[in-house]
């Protein structure tokens, strides 16, 4: 948090800033306000009253019943993919970062350069051949494809960030552990992981959000509706000819719900994580 610059003479002049901020944030949040209020209306109510919420007694709750039925399976798939991808990405990245950070191993520089080079590689260029590769690996139309791509896609960034972090851990800690006869695996578990809790949390949030928001790969990879993640599910919903806007908006809200709930509990971690993650990114 920034230091408060409490100069008594400026005390009375803070409210215009608050108003300005509220206006900007209000406009920024307008889409979510519209989503919430339309989700409780049917088409006719919306047509007659665009801006204001409906009265509670008129709420069309059946929108939510249908939305839950429609979206929950997609949410379940998304949770499986995003959580697995995040855990996998962080686990392998920790191992990799430990390798680079602990000793200057022969060949390490070459490997490091190989990783850094990938930072320059735009993902968009190889989407076509990636698709062909997944086909040859028989991974099309599986959630595995999305999990594995999530894990591998996170490696470079996570290893880059974690290496810097592990290098800053005081060397004596490792040496003390080594004296006790701890293996590298034990050092990773007992020294690195406890010391780098915050950065792991930050990376986890970033990885999770990235995977959660992805729709292009799922759209290309998945065929069966029972495997759809939220992204593809929403694209299919958007393609309906007959639009029940209330139901669609309710579905949007249900799709947002899991993260909103988790966010309510882990707000501080999120904000801190994203602030510092943004700094590093």
């Amino acid at each position: 948090m920034s230091a408060p610059h409490a100069v008594s003479g400026r005390k009375s002049r803070d409210w215009p800033k608050h108003i300005l901020i509220w206006i900007v944030l209000g406009l920024e949040l307008l889409p979510f306000y519209m989503m919430l209020q339309i989700s409780l209306k049917n088409n006719r109510m919306f047509y007659e009253n665009t801006w204001l919420p409906a009265l509670p007694q008129d709420w069309v709750l059946s929108n939510y019943v249908e939305a839950f039925k429609l979206i929950l399976p997609f949410v379940a798939n998304s949770v499986v993919v995003s959580v697995s991808a995040t855990i996998g990405a962080l686990l392998f990245a920790l191992l990799g970062a430990y390798f680079f950070a602990r000793y200057r191993m022969p060949g390490g520089n070459v490997l490091w350069a190989a990783f850094l080079l990938l930072m320059l590689l735009p993902g968009v260029a190889n989407i076509v051949t990636l698709f062909a590769l997944l086909q040859n690996l028989n991974l099309l139309n599986t959630l595995w494809a999305l999990i594995i791509l999530g894990i591998s896609g996170g490696q470079v960034f996570c290893i880059y960030v974690l290496r810097n972090f592990i290098e800053d851990i005081p060397r004596d800690l490792f040496e003390a552990a080594e004296m006790d006869g701890a293996s590298h695996w034990a050092q990773l578990r007992n020294v690195v992981i406890p010391m780098s809790g915050p950065i792991i949390g930050t990376l986890a949030i970033l990885m999770f959000l990235g995977s959660w928001n992805d729709f292009l790969m799922p759209l290309i990879v998945l065929r069966d509706p029972e495997l759809f993640t939220i992204g593809v599910g929403l694209i299919y919903l958007d393609g309906e000819y007959v639009k029940q806007w209330g139901r669609t908006m309710a579905a949007f809200f249900v799709a947002s719900l899991p993260l909103i709930i988790i966010f309510l509990f882990t707000m501080k971690l999120f904000v801190r994580g994203l602030s510092s993650g943004a700094l590093k990114g």
């Binding site: 519209m34 320059l120 260029a125 989407i127 590769l133």
Partner: protein, 315 residues
């Protein structure tokens, strides 16, 4: 820094190599292999299956003569410039929040800022798409009720655009001339949560005494921004500039979902990434799409290297 290690010790610690193997395998298989494969296949006429035919440099020559591809670079250029201006509200908001005295409010504003980030990106995208709907869309209702529409109709008459008419709903995504304006309006008021957080992090280093000194000198708020705040977030601004340019060049999800695979009416929303996707997954010309991807890759690579140098020197 990692400890230097002798050959003998390294041999003893061979198990450490096991740690890097999973990452190496993953990256090798899912990043390096596809890239090399893309380079290889760009010399072939390839429909995605096993059958392919070597055609030398034909794909690359075709790319050079591809009107749509080069036109899409103009479009993306316009969008990059627009995104440049779209960064201003984020800087403005970050400075506003930072100047607040109350730590508590600063924190809560950050929380509200993060809120749009945890809503799936597609939800935001589709809500905006709904805003653009000519019939029910909130955007048309807003410009109609605020009187902006009347002004636009007059401007239209004056300049002869032929897109805004009294009593006629404006089809933001259906009218070729309006597609780029719609893409620019998209996301109003253009607050990037990550951007604001980056800038706020940069502003943190400004101490109270700086403001006090400035106040004693009777500096206006704008001068304060120009001389105190902006120089301090210069690095962050440049960083997000680089990220924005590369992100915009690569991205095509927005155009794909908002306008469809052909870039909307008249193809005005076609961007390089979308054209590559279109050639591969619509036209089935996978080899050609690989060649397009390589052009894009080289372009982005050059830009990244240029940017890196630029950023480093200025630091």
């Amino acid at each position: 820094m990692p400890l230097p290690i002798s050959k003998k010790k390294a041999l003893h610690e061979w198990k450490l190599y096991l740690f890097i193997i999973p990452s190496l395998l993953l990256v090798g298989t899912f990043s390096y292999f596809p890239t090399l494969s893309a380079i290889y296949h760009s010399f072939f006429r390839w429909g995605g299956g096993d059958a392919k035919e070597f055609i030398g440099l034909k794909n690359f020559i075709d790319v050079l003569n591809d009107q749509v591809f080069w036109a899409s670079f103009v479009t993306i250029g316009i969008l990059v410039v627009a995104n440049l201006f779209k960064m201003i509200p984020s800087i403005f908001l970050a400075v506003l929040i930072h100047r607040l005295r109350s730590d508590k409010w600063q924190y809560w504003y950050r929380v509200i800022l993060v809120l749009p980030m945890i809503v799936p990106g597609l939800v935001t995208l589709f809500i905006w798409k709904f805003f653009f709907d000519p019939n029910l869309g909130v955007l048309n209702a807003a410009i109609e009720q605020s009187g902006i529409k009347t002004a636009l109709v007059h401007l239209d008459k004056f300049f002869g655009w032929g897109v805004f008419f009294e009593g006629v709903p404006t089809a933001w995504l259906g009218e070729p001339a309006l597609i780029i304006p719609a893409l620019i309006i998209w996301g109003f008021p253009w607050i990037g949560a990550v951007g604001v957080l980056i800038f706020l992090a940069g502003l943190q280093s400004i101490g109270t005494e700086v403001y006090e000194a400035a106040d004693l000198d009777g500096v206006t708020p704008f001068q304060k921004f120009l001389h105190i705040e902006f120089p301090l977030i210069m690095t962050q601004v440049r960083l997000s500039l680089v990220l924005m340019i590369i992100g915009t060049l690569q991205g095509f999800g927005l155009q794909f979902l908002l306008l469809g695979e052909n870039g909307g009416a008249g193809g005005r929303g076609m961007v390089p990434g979308l054209w590559m996707f279109n050639r591969a997954f619509i036209a089935g010309e996978f080899g050609y799409a690989c060649a397009l991807g390589l052009f894009l890759f080289v372009f982005i690579l050059a830009l990244t290297l240029f940017n890196n140098k630029f950023v480093r020197v200025e630091k």
